[in-house]
């Protein structure tokens, strides 16, 4: 039987300085905090980080950025992280913004083996500056190259030993997309079950996309409810 389970430390071992790392999650839900801690502990730097947002100050990928491990951030919105906005404004990190759904499509295209996507989002805005344009019928489109990474870190609610993944509620977000779009895909899961225990119809990401599975033995406090967002 296939068994991709491995410790977080061993799973992260191949990551080296200067690599690109995609990290799933939208806010706390779906952010792979255990793998991020392992990456922080390993001490790699000069990373290109790809994530929807940068979590919040002192949490998740923000810890990597605050520790000076990230050279470049490819993202959609930093509205909840004034610390990272400050680092961007001071020039400590380079930040490239994309419309959220376009970032998702770039990653999807990367995972699907496509070269690029073409869309008209932002066609009448400064977003078109320095971009390749393409005439499609009677409309202009912006060509957005597909996006892949060396490493993807994703979070699942359940995995089996073969790497089949199931996400939960709004913790799905970018995870299934990123799980297709990197050379080394590492998934952490809150529950790891035996092969055959997940029904084929419930699996969101087929195990063939996933290289390594890390069981989360105990949920870190970071996975919990952020009380300042409780209304």
């Amino acid at each position: 039987m296939i068994d991709k389970t491995i410790s977080a430390q061993q799973a992260i071992a191949p990551v080296t300085d200067g690599q690109s790392v995609m990290v799933g999650g939208f806010g706390v839900p779906g952010t792979p905090f255990l793998l991020i801690e392992a990456l922080l502990a390993k001490g790699v730097s000069e990373l290109t980080l790809i994530k929807n947002e940068a979590n919040e100050a002192g949490l998740g990928v923000s810890k990597l950025i605050e520790a000076g491990r990230v050279r470049r951030l490819i993202t959609s919105h930093l509205g909840l992280n004034a610390t990272v906005i400050g680092l961007m404004n001071s020039g400590a990190i380079g930040v490239e913004f994309f419309p959220q759904g376009i970032l998702a499509e770039k990653i999807r295209a990367g995972g699907a083996g496509l070269l690029a996507i073409v869309s008209d989002i932002g066609i009448d805005t400064i977003l078109r500056n320095d971009k390749q344009l393409l005439r499609c019928g009677d409309r202009d489109g912006i060509v957005e190259p597909a996006l892949r990474a060396d490493i993807a870190l994703v979070h699942a609610a359940k995995a089996d030993r073969a790497g089949n993944l199931v996400y939960e509620k709004s913790a799905r977000n970018f995870n299934p997309l990123m799980a297709t779009a990197a050379d080394l895909v590492i998934a952490e899961a809150e529950q790891v079950v035996e092969i055959g225990e997940l029904a084929p119809d419930e699996i969101h990401t087929p195990g063939a996309f996933v290289d390594r599975v890390v069981a989360i033995e105990e949920l870190l406090p970071a996975y919990g409810v952020l009380h300042h967002h409780v209304r």
């Binding site: 939208f26 906005i85 990653i107 009448d124 209304r231």
Partner: protein
């Protein structure tokens, strides 16, 4: 902005939602809209982070660590809700399935151009879902204060800030007025009960055609 102004805008905006619609509520004033909707109105609330069928804010003590809206607030879902990934979530927006998007504004022009995502050198948190929502929702309703905190008009002849999208706005709802964007300019449809026409005109840089049947709200 006073709570009263926000409440007035949200209450008026709620009246634009029709049964059966798929809607998205932006950050800020739009999130206040649900409390002014009839509780039995059937509608589908979309949230950018992959929720089709978002419900209300979680009851105290009931927050689910895996269930937030795009602004980070813990919420519930309604019966019939579904979850999806971020690509499918924006397929719904760009593909034309979103009936109404409610967004805030820094500036709106008489052509219906919207600027709400960047003030160069001052405010640049990123684009998020704003461009896709503004450009692709079937109907875009702007909920905003009529003027800036300094009292400068936000409804202009043309936007000075970088655009979110061109000619995308259908309706502007402020604490003072309801203004529709027509092919030949802005039409003042309603003014607030507490204000006067002169004040609205004074605080609006863009020319306003006063609607034939100007109503109070």
């Amino acid at each position: 902005m006073s709570v009263d102004a926000k409440t007035k805008i949200a209450r008026r905006a709620a009246r634009e939602i029709q049964a059966g619609q798929v809607i998205n509520l932006g950050i800020g004033i739009p999130t206040l809209i649900p409390s002014f909707l009839p509780p039995d109105l059937p509608l589908t609330m979309h949230s950018e982070n992959g929720i089709v069928g978002a419900g209300t804010i979680s009851a105290p003590g009931k927050a689910d660590r895996n269930l937030i809206d795009a602004g980070g607030t813990y919420i519930t879902v309604v019966p019939g809700a579904s979850f999806c990934d971020s690509a499918l979530s924006f397929s719904l927006v760009r593909g034309g399935r979103l009936d109404v998007s409610f967004l805030g504004a820094l500036e709106v022009s008489q052509q219906g151009d919207l600027a709400n995502w960047i003030i160069p050198g001052k405010f640049a948190p990123g684009i998020g879902g704003a461009m896709e929502l503004a450009q692709k929702a079937r109907r875009l309703i702007i909920t905003t204060t009529h003027a800036t905190r300094k009292g400068e008009p936000k409804i202009l002849r043309s936007c000075t800030l970088p655009l979110t999208a061109r000619a995308c706005v259908d309706l502007i709802i402020t604490e003072l007025a309801v203004i529709s964007v027509q092919p030949d300019g802005l039409v003042l449809e309603e003014i607030a009960a507490e204000t006067e026409l002169e004040i609205v005109l004074q605080l609006t840089e863009a020319p306003l055609v006063v609607g034939a049947a100007l109503k109070r709200f």
